[in-house]
């Protein structure tokens, strides 16, 4: 099967899939990491409800990271080893964060009250470690895996930017899933997160222009320049709209609670595609192109059979689970 699919087309298909996985990961694990970062140390009732809101989802959300890193490994092995060897320590810290938060989630439900708070804090700070490490890795990646002081500075900025973005989408999720006081608190978090995120997007956009000459040329030339500049503008329009909504919604008796999350989702999509267009055809910006890194075409054709059959099924049952657990989250009893 797929014998007539050229290597070039395979490269595009797999980089597209990789992009889809990363985007879905950023949105899906983004909101549950964000909820983790927002965990308040003092209010236990909030903590229970917040964690209950992500209970049925987080395992599957994290699987998109496994798929993304797996696709990078399978389709672009050179990029995978270059990327992960340069970012060895941040990747290690991210993994430790993921380990800690993942197990804390399960341990907290099964231990005595005193220890529960400790696991909650492990959950919070594990999530924070993960988001900071991911943002830092994103930053270094965008610079083309540079490690000089400017790149480090940019990466730190990205670390905070990504954390703010996750916290923002996390609070939008809580608006959607939470009720009463928790929801009020989520509105407050979303309003604050919105501001930080807006500043972050401006800073990253400007820094992005100074990093690579090719990218700057692309942004400053027609026709892609228009598209690319339209994106931050659209982002800001959406964020402004969201700001208005966040003020109005608490009085709207539950109507339109899904809107902030939907807007957050669109903002993620816009930012992500802006990155994608800026750096294509590079898999590592300025260093390695998709075709340089592509592995053997016949192996990729073999895997493509599975991709074509299975990915739609995965998307379908993921949608089914979101439908099953739609509406306000319930207390997280293992029934």
């Amino acid at each position: 099967m797929f014998e007539n699919v050229s290597a070039e087309m395979l490269g595009n298909i797999y980089v597209g899939l990789l992009g889809l996985s990363v985007l879905l990961y950023a949105i899906l694990d983004g909101y549950d990491l964000g909820v983790g970062v927002l965990i308040p140390p003092r209010t236990e009732a909030f903590r229970d409800d917040m964690i209950a809101s992500i209970g049925p989802y987080w395992d599957a959300n994290e699987t998109w990271l496994v798929l993304a890193i797996g696709l990078l490994l399978i389709a672009f092995p050179e990029a995978h080893s270059e990327f992960l060897q340069t970012l060895y320590l941040p990747a290690t810290f991210m993994l430790l964060g993921l380990i800690l938060r993942g197990v804390a989630f399960d341990f907290r439900a099964k231990v005595v009250q005193v220890k529960k708070r400790k696991w909650d804090m492990v959950f919070k700070y594990g999530s924070l470690l993960t988001t900071l490490a991911q943002g830092y890795m994103l930053g270094i990646y965008v610079t083309g895996l540079r490690t000089d002081i400017w790149a480090q500075g940019f990466a730190l900025l990205a670390a905070f930017g990504v954390t703010a973005a996750y916290a923002f989408i996390g609070s939008c999720w809580l608006i959607l899933k939470g009720e009463g006081e928790l929801q009020q608190k989520a509105y407050y978090w979303a309003r604050r997160g919105l501001g930080i995120l807006a500043v972050g997007i401006i800073a990253v956009s400007i820094a992005n222009l100074t990093l690579h000459d090719d990218v700057r040329d692309l942004w400053l030339s027609a026709p892609w320049g228009y598209v690319l500049f339209a994106k931050p503008v659209a982002c800001f329009a959406l964020l402004a709209l969201c700001g208005v909504l966040l003020k109005k919604l608490p009085e709207a008796q539950g109507k339109g609670e899904w809107l902030p999350f939907f807007i957050a989702l669109l903002v993620f999509l816009l930012c992500f595609t802006a990155f994608g267009i800026s750096y294509y055809p590079f898999i590592i910006p300025g260093q390695m192109t998709v075709m340089d890194a592509l592995s053997d075409a016949s192996s990729l054709r073999f895997l493509l059979v599975g991709v074509v059959i299975v990915v739609p099924i995965i998307l379908a049952y993921t949608a089914m689970v979101y439908k099953i657990f739609s509406g306000k989250s319930e207390k997280l009893s293992y029934y």
Binding site: P56, D59, I74, A75, Q85, F325, E330
Partner: protein, 457 residues
């Protein structure tokens, strides 16, 4: 220490920690499906109580398996870049199929299994349990296909030092795969059985005289008693397969230095690689030849035929003896338990203690077995194709030392927390009241899919 040794230590640590949890969940998924089926058929609430207790053990084990598994997918790139550069065209798609066909399935339907019973029809909850069990088994299928291919590679060609796949059917169904898959699934069955039996016995020792732990102990003991002879047979077949394809591994397992006709079975020895001989041997004459060739005078190749190409002897030799010894112990204990069960006698306290003490015995046997097969493959990463030393990273050793230390600390804490939490869950379950007959009637009447589960106490 250099990057090679540190990377090996780190990988060994990660995979040793990781395998503990899939070993439990692979078979426990099927136990849960069985409990759910029995609950559907009989309507007796005890099956649902068992489901509820063990699904939480499953969830905790699954979470530990997931998070430690994520780290594995990073280590291929970080510590063993040569692996993907040389054999990535084979390893990649197999890993890809595992993620696509198993990981998403397990993770997504686990949500329904754990939290969905009030939101979905009963049949969908049962189906989700089945799907999760199928998912864990599918996952084992792909990863063992890859591991077996690394042991007995076929279906490929090498062009300019890089491996290219030529026949996927040959790659997946390579010579050692069927044996390894069966051996591992049975190992998982035994690990889960002894865990269920052990923790149930522990509950009973703590004063739990409810039906649920008794029934769980019974189910698990019978399962173990049936699986262990199958496992001994499967292990024997796997050994014969290894003799055919990796004779140097068998030579190390047997501690046999010189090629011998009528080789003895060594119950104990201390292999000495320097002088290429054993100390303190306790041999059974002709034993190894009889087992491996089914002839008293059968010839078995010794380690000296594989100068520089054979694995380190001591870990393989001892690992094998630990695994077999644990298997024998499992055989004795599960059959003894079954005898008591069949004659309708309660377990005496020492037998309960034995079961409780063996709750994690499956881990020891499984780890020992994996050490035999993985260390037994050295000095190769992929037999005859890629040496382990040629795949390692050029990272600064200090960085690996740091990550290794962090993993070691966290995994130690998590292992203690995991075992402690399971014990705590058992002690807590003791205090929960058994459902009375009246309650059961009420429960049955309310057994509508949308109504809150009545067995919540």
């Amino acid at each position: 220490m250099d990057a090679f040794l540190l990377s090996r230590l780190q990988f060994a640590l990660n995979i040793s920690f990781h395998i503990l949890f899939p070993t439990i969940t692979m078979a426990m998924g099927w136990f849960l499906f069985y409990f759910k089926l029995r609950s559907n058929i009989s309507g007796h609430p005890v099956w649902m109580r068992m489901y509820r207790f063990w699904v939480r053990v499953f969830a905790l084990s699954f979470a530990l398996g997931v998070v430690s598994g994520v780290t594995m997918s990073f280590q291929f790139g970080t510590n063993w870049p040569g692996f993907m550069e040389k054999v990535g065209n084979v390893a990649g798609p197999l890993l890809g199929y595992e993620v696509l066909t198993a990981f998403f399935l397990e993770a997504t339907f686990l949500g329904i299994m754990l939290f969905g019973i009030r939101r979905v029809p009963n049949w969908l909850h049962t189906a989700s349990t089945l799907i999760v069990a199928l998912g864990t088994t599918t996952s084992a299928f792909w990863i063992l296909a890859l591991n077996s291919w690394m042991q007995t590679p076929q279906g490929f060609e090498v062009i300019d030092g890089v491996v290219y796949a030529t026949n996927w059917k040959e790659i997946i169904f390579n010579p050692s795969f069927p044996y390894r898959f069966v051996h591992m699934m049975l190992a998982s069955g035994l690990t889960a059985s002894f865990l269920i039996a052990g923790l149930s016995a522990y509950r009973m020792l703590k004063g739990d005289d409810k039906l649920a732990p008794k029934l769980a102990l019974k189910t698990a003991t019978y399962t173990a008693a049936v699986l262990i002879p199958l496992q001994i047979f499967a292990g024997d077949m796997h050994g014969l397969n290894t003799l055919e394809h990796q004779p140097q591994k068998v030579a190390a397992m047997e501690g046999l230095w010189e090629t011998t006709e009528g080789a003895p079975l060594l119950l104990f020895a201390i292999p000495d690689e320097e002088s290429k001989e054993n100390h303190f041997e306790i041999p059974i004459p002709y034993g190894a030849s009889l087992i491996l060739t089914h002839e008293l005078k059968g010839e078995i190749k010794g380690l000296n035929e594989f100068e520089g190409e054979h694995p380190p002897v001591a870990p393989v030799f001892f690992g094998f003896r630990v695994m077999v010894g644990m298997g024998m112990l499992m055989l004795a204990v599960s059959w003894l338990g079954s005898l008591y069960l069949m004659s309708n006698k309660d377990f005496p306290i020492w037998l309960k203690r034995t079961f409780a003490g063996m709750a994690f015995s499956g881990w020891i046997a499984t780890l020992a077995g994996w050490y035999v097969t993985e260390i037994g493959r050295q000095p190769y990463l992929v037999s005859g194709v890629l040496r382990t030393a040629d795949a390692v990273t050029q990272l600064p050793p200090a960085n690996i030392a740091l990550s290794f230390t962090l993993y070691l600390v966290i995994y130690t804490v998590l292992l203690i927390a995991y075992m402690g939490t399971l014990m705590l869950m058992c002690r807590r379950a003791v205090e929960i009241e058994e459902i009375t007959t009246e309650e059961r009637e009420v429960a049955k009447a309310k057994m509508q899919p949308t109504a809150p589960d009545p067995s919540t106490v």
